[in-house]
């Protein structure tokens, strides 16, 4: 039990560190306004095990978002987006439930439930994350075009990176 917790905390530290120390500094869209934000730490929340109570997941999502916010100097934006994403997590489980149900000791990962299942699950929730992130960041619907453009571009780039990382993990664990 202790081992699982240590592994989980280490994974969160890895993802947050990668996010705030490396990916934060990357500006893909040249010298002008930045449209592509690479945010990959939400996948650490997405792959939390099934049996963990929703109460703790919401608490963890808030803490993780808060720490990232401290580095991005944007109180509440990342934390709010993380909360919206994990709120819809149980709903996605119900919609995507396979015929023979879930096993108790599973996690929603590629190695446990297959790549197609994970693609549907992760891409939907990441889209929710990015949309709520940019709505909270811009905080006005005057720039709705800008919000949508940023959401779509950031979503595609980040999702591709997340999938590559997850595939790498699943190959390693097999």
């Amino acid at each position: 039990m202790n081992n699982i917790w240590t592994a989980m905390i280490l994974r969160f530290l890895f993802y947050i560190g990668l996010q705030v120390l490396v990916l934060k500094e990357i500006h893909l869209s040249g010298s002008n306004q930045n449209f592509i934000f690479i945010l990959i730490y939400p996948v650490a929340l997405l792959t939390l095990p099934f049996r963990m109570p929703q109460f703790f997941i919401i608490l963890i999502a808030f803490i993780v978002g808060f720490i990232v916010d401290l580095f991005y100097m944007s109180p509440g934006v990342h934390a709010g987006a993380c909360l919206w994403m994990v709120l819809l997590r149980p709903l996605m489980f119900r919609i995507l439930e396979p015929k023979n149900g879930y096993q108790l000791d599973m996690s929603p990962t590629i190695s446990d439930l297959g790549i197609i299942w994970f693609a549907k699950y992760a891409s939907t929730l990441l889209l929710v994350f990015f949309l709520s992130y940019f709505i909270l960041q811009v905080f006005t619907f005057v720039y709705i075009g800008e919000i949508l453009l940023k959401t779509i571009l950031s979503f595609f780039v980040s999702t591709i990176i997340i999938f590559l990382l997850q595939l790498f993990y699943s190959f390693k664990s097999n």
Partner: protein, 275 residues
């Protein structure tokens, strides 16, 4: 007791979500309001310690470029020094009395953002290096922002790329002045407002600081006129200014300490008696 906790854990997730989401919204709104409100958020300076250490470790990769920029700056200073005897011989140099009023404190940028509507910068020097709120921040190429808050060894700077930025700027050739603001789109362009449309504006004109405020010294280069057009239905130009110091690659900056600040502000306060 354990059972009550259990019930909360099982059913309270929605309540917890609503509470935490409300807290997030509260923060977002509070942070987006005004510059004074940002003052309260100086707790972010706490993480500056980690960022400073990180910056120190990756410094080695950029040593070459920094060496070049410092060498260039040295060369310019040296040329000033060589030229100074000739300048002093000009009669009007005696009028320029504020030569010694400004002192520069060297600092480095350890955190910077571009993509938000209100951008802030963190510097690695603070109160114990004599930096205080209200001081201007410049580089050798242009101006950067205004210090809003300091801790003992870090300072928070309101970047030019902030919705509250309002800097008194002047067109160097024709002398007209007006406020310089940022419209939130392109980090290399700012707008100079309130220039009357009978002013003789030309493309490529230098835009400099006016020296009317105590924050920046007079005649520091800010940028050049990039695009200008008459605004429909008003008597002013719409002028886009291309910043001479790109905000995307800030590293070495100087904080301007004005020794006469208190005196000038004290005198100007008295003007209220005569208005």
């Amino acid at each position: 007791m354990w059972r009550i906790l259990n019930i909360i854990v099982q059913n309270g997730s929605t309540v917890l979500f609503v509470l935490l989401q409300a807290l997030c919204l509260f923060w977002v709104v509070k942070f987006n309001q005004t510059q004074q409100k940002i003052y309260l958020h100086s707790y972010q300076l706490m993480v500056s310690g980690i960022q400073a250490k990180y910056q120190k470790t990756i410094d080695y990769f950029g040593l070459r470029q920094r060496y070049d920029s410092i060498a260039n700056e040295n060369a310019k200073l040296l040329s000033n020094q060589i030229n100074s005897p000739y300048k002093i011989q000009k009669p009007d140099s005696l009028i320029d009395g504020d030569l010694g009023a400004y002192q520069l404190i060297q600092a480095r940028v350890i955190n910077n953002s571009l993509e938000k509507r209100n951008n802030m910068i963190t510097l690695d020097k603070g109160g114990k290096h004599q930096i205080a709120p209200g001081m201007g921040v410049i580089t050798s190429k242009g101006i950067v922002g205004i210090v809003t808050d300091t801790s003992s060894s870090y300072a928070l700077v309101m970047s030019l790329l902030h919705s509250n930025t309002n800097i008194s700027a002047r067109l160097k050739r024709c002398g007209f002045f007006g406020p310089l603001v940022w419209n939130g789109k392109d980090p290399s362009i700012m707008n100079l407002m309130a220039i009357q449309n009978y002013a003789d504006v030309r493309l490529g004109d230098s835009v400099v600081t006016s020296g009317y405020s105590v924050i920046f010294p007079k005649d520091l280069l800010i940028g050049i006129v990039d695009v200008y057009k008459k605004e429909e239905g008003s008597f002013t130009y719409k002028i886009n200014v291309k910043l001479s110091q790109s905000m995307t690659n800030l590293d070495q900056v100087y904080v301007v300490l004005n020794k006469d600040k208190g005196e000038k502000e004290g005198l100007e306060k008295k003007s209220a008696h005569y208005e």
